[in-house]
C-alpha cells in the first residue's frame, strides 16, 4: 500500500483550485484561437479576441478568468493500492476551501432553500471512482452556473433513436441562446440510467477539446451535432456567427432495453479544468 497524507492532498487541491480559477488550459485556448481565425462574423471575431485577451490578463495577473469561479466539481480516481492517512473527503474539501479563500475566488455555494452562502465555496461536489494501481488522480472542474442552468435531461423511448438524440441535444444548446456564454462546450451522457447519464455528461467535459470519441460512430455523431448547432447561428454571446459551440463530447454507456436517457451538460467558453496525479 502506498500512503498519501491528508496534508499532501489538501495542499495539492488548494493549488489546483487556484490555478483552475485563473488559467485556461491549452486545449480551450487553442479552440478559441481556431474559432477566431475561422469566424465569419466580424463582431464575433472581435469578441473572441477579447476572450483571448481576457485569458491572458487572468493568467498574468492571477485574476479569475470569470467572476463565476463556480461550484467545485471534483472527479477523484483512487487506486486500490493507495491508503490515505486521514479522511480523503475532508482533505479534498479543505483543499477546495483553502483554494477559494487564498485565491480570492468567489464563494458561490449556498443553501438551496434559504440561499445562505456557506462563505467557503464548500461543500464541493465530489465523484469517486476506484481504479487499479497506487495513484490518486484528481480532476477539478470549477463549474459556472450560467451554463449549468442551461443543462437538461430526457428519458427518450428507444424508438427515438439517433435522430431523437440529435434533436434533443441541438435544441437544448440552441434554446439556451446567449445565457450560457457561447461558444459553449456541450457535454452529453447517453445511455445508462437517469443519474448515470447526467454523470457522464459532466465527465465528458474533462476530455481534451480536440479529442473525439474513440468510437467511430459516436465521433461522427459528435461532429454531426456540432455542425447542426453551429449552423443555427446563435453565435458567440448570442450575437451571431458560426461558433455557437466549440465542441460536442458524448460519453456512452449501455442502457436498458426500454430506455434511452440523454443528458446535456452545457459548459461556457471559459471552460476551466485542471488535473493532478498524486
Amino acid at each position: 500500500m502506498r500512503k498519501i497524507t491528508f496534508q499532501e492532498i489538501a495542499a495539492a487541491v488548494r493549488q489546483l483550485t487556484m490555478e483552475a480559477g485563473t488559467q485556461l488550459e491549452p486545449d480551450i485556448l487553442e479552440a478559441l484561437l481556431v474559432a477566431r481565425d475561422t469566424e465569419e462574423s466580424l463582431l464575433a471575431r472581435h469578441v473572441l479576441e477579447l476572450f483571448i485577451s481576457n485569458a491572458d490578463i487572468a493568467s498574468r495577473e492571477k485574476i479569475p478568468v470569470c467572476q463565476d469561479t463556480g461550484v467545485a466539481v471534483l472527479f477523484v480516481a483512487i487506486g486500490q493500492d493507495v491508503r490515505v492517512e486521514g479522511s480523503l473527503e475532508d482533505a479534498l474539501q479543505e483543499g477546495v476551501q483553502r483554494g477559494y479563500v487564498d485565491g480570492y475566488l468567489r464563494k458561490s455555494v449556498c443553501d438551496p432553500l434559504t440561499r445562505v452562502n456557506s462563505g467557503t465555496n464548500t461543500p464541493a461536489v465530489i465523484h469517486y471512482e476506484i481504479t487499479s494501481g497506487d495513484k490518486l488522480h484528481i480532476s477539478m472542474l470549477p463549474k459556472g452556473c450560467g451554463s449549468e442552468n442551461m443543462s437538461g435531461l430526457i428519458m427518450l423511448p428507444p424508438s427515438a433513436g439517433k435522430q431523437g438524440v440529435i434533436d434533443f441535444v441541438v435544441e437544448q444548446a440552441v434554446k439556451a441562446g446567449a445565457n450560457p456564454c457561447p461558444p459553449m462546450v456541450v457535454g452529453v451522457g447517453m445511455g445508462g440510467t437517469f443519474e448515470k447519464a447526467a454523470y457522464l455528461a459532466k465527465k465528458s467535459l474533462l476530455r481534451p477539446l480536440a479529442a473525439a470519441s474513440p468510437r467511430h460512430d459516436i465521433a461522427a455523431l459528435e461532429q454531426e451535432i456540432l455542425t447542426e448547432i453551429n449552423r443555427r447561428g446563435v453565435g458567440v454571446q448570442g450575437l451571431g456567427g458560426n461558433h455557437t459551440a466549440l465542441a460536442v463530447h458524448i460519453e456512452s454507456f449501455p442502457t436498458h432495453i426500454a430506455s434511452l436517457p440523454v443528458a446535456v451538460n452545457i459548459q461556457c467558453h471559459a471552460h476551466r479544468h485542471k488535473e493532478i496525479v498524486l
Binding site: V47, Q67, A178, G233
Partner: protein
Amino acid sequence: MSLLRYRPDFFDSLRAVNLPFDAEVLSSLRAGELISLTGTLYTGRDQTHRRFEALLDSGEPLPIDLRGQLLYYVGPSPAQPGQVIGAAGPTTSYRMDTYTPRLLELGLAATMGKGGRSPQVRQAMEQHQAIYLATFGGAGALLSKCIKEAEVVAFEDAGPEALFRFRVEEFPAVVINDVLGHDFYEMVRQDQS
C-alpha cells in the same frame, strides 16, 4: 504592465456614452450598437433584487435612488490587495426578470447583463423608455480593468451579491433592447433563418 497591450482594437470603435445616462442619448441608442460606458453605475444580482423587493413590499425606501441609473448584473470575485475589484463580468439576466418591471417603474433607466429578457420585461422597458445592454460573459478579468472605483453601498453581508457602486471607464457593451422595442438577439435570429 500597460493595459493597452491587452486591449483589442475593438475598443477603439465603440460609441462613447456617459453614465448616468442623458435621457436624449439613451433614446438615441439602437439595438446592435456597440458602446463604451464611462461614469457611475450600480450592481445587483439575485439576492440584491430579493432584498429590493422585500424593502418595497414593506414600504421602505431602497438604499439608492434608481432614477436614471444603470443596474449591472454582476457578482464580482473578491479584490486582491492592491486591486479595485476582482473579475467582474455579467451574470445571466433572465433570473432578474421577475423583479425588473417594478424597478423600471421606479425610474431605473437601464440594466446590463447577458442573455435575453422576458416579454414582460421588454414590455415594461418600452413603457418606461428603458434599455437593456449586454456585456461579455466570461471576460471578467478584462472587464475588471475598466472598473476604476468600487464601493459597497448596501447589503455587505450578501458578499458577492452586495450592492456596489462602480466608477467605470470605457466599459464595453452592446445595446440589446432599445426604446423603440427592438431586440438585437431576435434580430440576429431572424437574420440567420
